[in-house]
Amino acid sequence: MRLRPGSEELAPVSARFPAATTATVAGTALHSRRRRRSWHRRALPVAAPYALLLPTAGVIAAVLGYPLYLLVKLSFQKYGLFELVRHKGHYIGTANYARILHDSQFWTVLGRTVLFTAVNVALTLVLGTAIALLLVRLGRFMRVVLTTGLVLVWATPVVVAVDLWRWMVDYEFGVANWTLTKLHFGNFLHHDWFANPWTGFGVITALIVWGAIPFVTITVYAGLSQVPQELIEAAQIDGATSLGVFREITLPLLKPIFVILASLSIIWDFQVFNQIWIMLDERPTSDYFLMSIYSFVESFRISEYGLGSAIAVVMVLFMLGITFVYVRQMVRIGEVQ
């Protein structure tokens, strides 16, 4: 039951400096001593995480990584039907970019897309947050009912949503037309909403905001419920009004969520394609072009894949800044987890 004899002689460093037993010592001095490591015990754990990641990384690289590289390459090529058949493009340098940048339509489309995105994102965030704030004030039953309703909207496939909105604004039998007329907003009977791009985009915006609100609401609500009750109570005791509490306590705490939601909304709304495409029977007029439609039409309709790619690259670059903000915010949260 005793220590090994002779251990008194070892007298480690600390013996001479009693209170100076520091915990940090360079580890190098120890490595020279006997070390027997079984090779396979070390090697297996080291390789394991890479092996686990490989399938996922492989799929992503193949479907996302390589095509992304291809996209950029394509944007510098002429790739029409002829090239499609031959499976090979014809390098033309920055001609595609020059063409689109000098094309007034490109700038119109870009401007339209930016405006469209701004309006949609703003409406979505404001309305979504408002409903989230409403949710907080509800009793349990109503909260569940409203949330369920929102979830139903959220789950609706885009194609379905487009069709049903199209039905609602149908120029002959649309229920929205009838209701708006009855509410004296004007005469909308037999009104083709899509004849005028402004009203057409109005419908599309309503459709998109409608579909996007649930996600924003539920996310903001989840964030609101994570705000510690004590903080709010302390603020109230300190004399803050409801608005004050919201502005000083809740909003700052919710900032990360808003950053994420805003980034996601901008990215999604900037890329809107399906709604316009299906709403206009796959034949949108140029007044309805957004960036994604423009790129698609150039590629698959006119078979100018190179040009379409260039437009797409511009689109991606445009969103890179937003993406960066989003990723940084997510990593901040993720790392703390």
């Binding site: 409403l134 949330t147 309703g149």
Partner: protein
């Protein structure tokens, strides 16, 4: 969160909630109502708010249309494979990210997040060119792989979050008790992240089922298409028959609505859990 403080504000809140509910849900209701109405009740200038003579005729019409059942089958196949594969792959990848320390881990996490931002529309072009080279256009397998790619990042991220929530000591106890490290993952970690698996599989299901653009671009044969493409083509085939169209739309939305109700708030919560507390 404090509940309403006065009866007055409570009434106002509830009234507002009802208004919001009606406004948001009305389109969905209208779609379903229309689907059950006979033709003459659909095509009226003054809307009939309730289907007073409900009928299944529209549904029969929609289901009888060309390629409906084959497209349903395609959707189911694609969705099924995507869900299973994404779960398997994501579980392994999440394990790596949550339970191991290795060089490049942070980079991969950033990649996972950032990759979700790459615009689908932009990639369709090179993907089409790529796949046409290897004659993989018009094949379900191509679509499946593409869907996997768009589903995996979120799935990996969510599962990782769930795994981080399981205390490390549970796995250590299992290892001392006699499992290998991987054995501990399967016997202890896997059952405990089951809710995460459910949430992500439902997410994958919904994403795959609802997707339009890729199916539209890559599947040309009507018999190979998915239900969403079928629905989109509905009107271009034969004018606009609203009754059957709404029926078709309802059918397309049905599975998703059903499963989404099961998972409810978990998805959004998973995305932002911890965001506030930081």
């Amino acid at each position: 969160m404090s509940g309403p403080r006065t009866l007055g504000s409570k009434i106002v809140a509830n009234a507002l909630a009802v208004v919001v509910l009606v406004v948001m849900l009305f389109p969905v209701y209208w779609m379903v109502a229309t689907a059950f109405k006979p033709g003459r009740d659909v095509l009226t200038y003054t809307p009939k708010w309730f289907p007073t003579h409900p009928t299944l005729a529209n549904f029969r019409d929609a289901m009888g249309r060309a390629y409906f059942w084959s497209d349903v089958k395609n959707s189911l196949i694609i969705v099924g494979v995507v869900v299973v594969l994404s779960l398997a792959l994501a579980f392994l990848a999440a394990l790596a990210l949550a339970k191991f320390r290795f060089y490049g881990r942070k980079a991969f996490i950033v990649l996972i997040i950032g990759v979700q931002m790459v615009p689908l529309n932009a990639l369709v072009i090179p993907l089409y060119i790529l796949l046409s080279r290897v004659h993989q256009v018009d094949k379900l397998s191509g679509v499946i792989v593409m869907y996997l790619t768009f589903v995996l990042p979120f799935t990996v991220w969510t599962l990782r979050g769930f795994m981080l929530g399981v205390p490390r000591e549970l796995e250590e106890a299992a290892m001392v008790d006699g499992t290998t490290r991987f054995g501990a993952f399967v016997r202890i970690l896997l059952p405990l992240v089951a809710p995460g698996l459910v949430a992500t599989s439902i997410f994958a299901f919904i994403q795959a089922w609802n997707e339009f653009l890729i199916a539209y671009v890559f599947l040309h044969e009507p018999s190979k298409q998915t239900l969403t493409v079928w629905l989109a083509n509905f009107t271009t085939l034969r004018g606009t028959e609203w009754g059957p169209l709404m029926a078709g739309a309802t059918l397309t939305a049905l599975p998703v609505l059903f499963f989404f109700l099961l998972v409810q708030r978990r998805v959004a919560f998973g995305l932002t859990a911890g965001a506030v507390r930081g």
